[in-house]
Symmetry: C2
Subunit: 327 residues, 2 copies
Amino acid sequence: MTRVLILGGGGMVGQKLAARLVHEGLGGGPAPQTILFDVGFPPAGVEGPEQMTGDLGDPATAGRLAALRPDVIFHLAAIVSGESETNFEKGWAINMMSMWHLLEALRHEHNASGGSYVPKLIFTSSIAVFGAPYPEKIGDEFLSAPQTSYGAQKAICELMVTDFSRKGFVDGMSLRLPTICVRPGKANLAASSFFSGIIREPLNGIEAILPVPDTVRHWHASPRSAAGFLVHAAGLDTARLEGRRALSLPGVSCTVAEQIEALRRAAGQNAVDLIRQAPDEAIMKIVQGWPRDFDPQRAVALGFRAESSFDEIVDVYIKEDLPNATV
Amino acid sequence: MTRVLILGGGGMVGQKLAARLVHEGLGGGPAPQTILFDVGFPPAGVEGPEQMTGDLGDPATAGRLAALRPDVIFHLAAIVSGESETNFEKGWAINMMSMWHLLEALRHEHNASGGSYVPKLIFTSSIAVFGAPYPEKIGDEFLSAPQTSYGAQKAICELMVTDFSRKGFVDGMSLRLPTICVRPGKANLAASSFFSGIIREPLNGIEAILPVPDTVRHWHASPRSAAGFLVHAAGLDTARLEGRRALSLPGVSCTVAEQIEALRRAAGQNAVDLIRQAPDEAIMKIVQGWPRDFDPQRAVALGFRAESSFDEIVDVYIKEDLPNATV
């Protein structure tokens, strides 16, 4: 039976992915044996998978995880962008150094197995690996020039995953997720948190804070698409990547004003009236440097699919998450 | 007095740079106090600078070096491309992890100084951060998709230097040197060593090995240009880099056949007759993935200058290094 390990399995995307594996299986097969690793888990989490708690910042953790010899590892664990900016040491320790320790531990298992153990490693990178100034649409050959520590750490992990894969120790790839929207649950410390908040809070009848002008354009995909990207990547023949194992994924490019129009179409003016403008210089400064639009030809050619409008993204939240909302 | 530390100061480019600092000073000022750090030094090295030996792979070394509080650090130390490919652990330890330890030690000194200590850090990266397929000329916004461990390690160091600089702990930049040619002295373990060998050995009357077809096109600059790049970078106001602190530098794009023609013009057919074709699959495989030509507009606009023909590059060797050649 396929053994799957999800690092960051207690987080929002980790839980969506775990639920998908439980209900839909992996690669046309039955539900895999799934182990979730995280610092903690939500009280009413997905049922079925085994839960493991621990600290990725501890180098010994990597050895413990690699010794499980998972067939597929989804690496979603991270200190988010806002916190990586304010806590420099923690961001580098968790977002960069723990990836190094994990890759080294997996290389050790590979060598100990006589070379037969080569796990699939799907790493969630981010569009934060890019930095302004941008072309109108960011193409697949545009440079990584991150302007946050989070983006730098993600870009470094991409390079490590690619080189360890080139050497045959793992079979990895990095997925540069769009900003995931609409996130269910509470706001988090990510500078991008408001992109979800301005849709989620009004749909739940409470006030939302908008810290940036509504002309800000950004790149989005739903949590359902995020889980879909990850499962699709796990089934992909990485030879098709021809050595370029970091991919920008499809998404929806729209302005905050267009997000708000989609909310209006879905829930009316009363919902929109719950959005309160409260400019925040720190968040504006971070978001200003973020990508606005992509032309992700390689990912599309490889079969990755997202929503085609922000209305669809709102609809995913209303169908999947609003019924059980605990905002 | 300005204090300069050269990591890799015992190497070829380190010695060229040290000689330049001794004879020409730095930034229009007098010769700085210069400290060379390396695993060892050539017996007849540059006179004047202090020599320090040690192992960059030892994390304690970084603290020892940072405690010197140099005003300018030139980081030229590396395991070369060929050896990084065959000795995976050593390459990552010296080319990546030692940069991490150095940056952390410099951040510690910065904090201990109350924020007043912000050293200039000039890191020699490499065009090996790029990987095929390429456009005809690689522009300043082309992605880093290295196809060697050496290239991955250099690309990672670039990202670290940029982020530690953005945070104000150091004032760094990364220079993607062309292949330095004609290197004086003995062949080294770099896969690129033959690019120098086929000029240097014939000029010294001995046989040279050419392991690749003469149609191979590559990107070159002289050791004199390399020292010039480094000194120019040390004097540059890094605000002009606008956050993109890794630069591809100017050079000369030519084929091996064109190199050989330049040798013929400088030293005649007898010299050319000393080149022996001996195809080497391993070297061909590495070199095949290397860049052939660049359009380094940013570096040119910032005042970086190289030779404009391979004849000039041959001439630099004949004037500067051939008189004292010990091949």
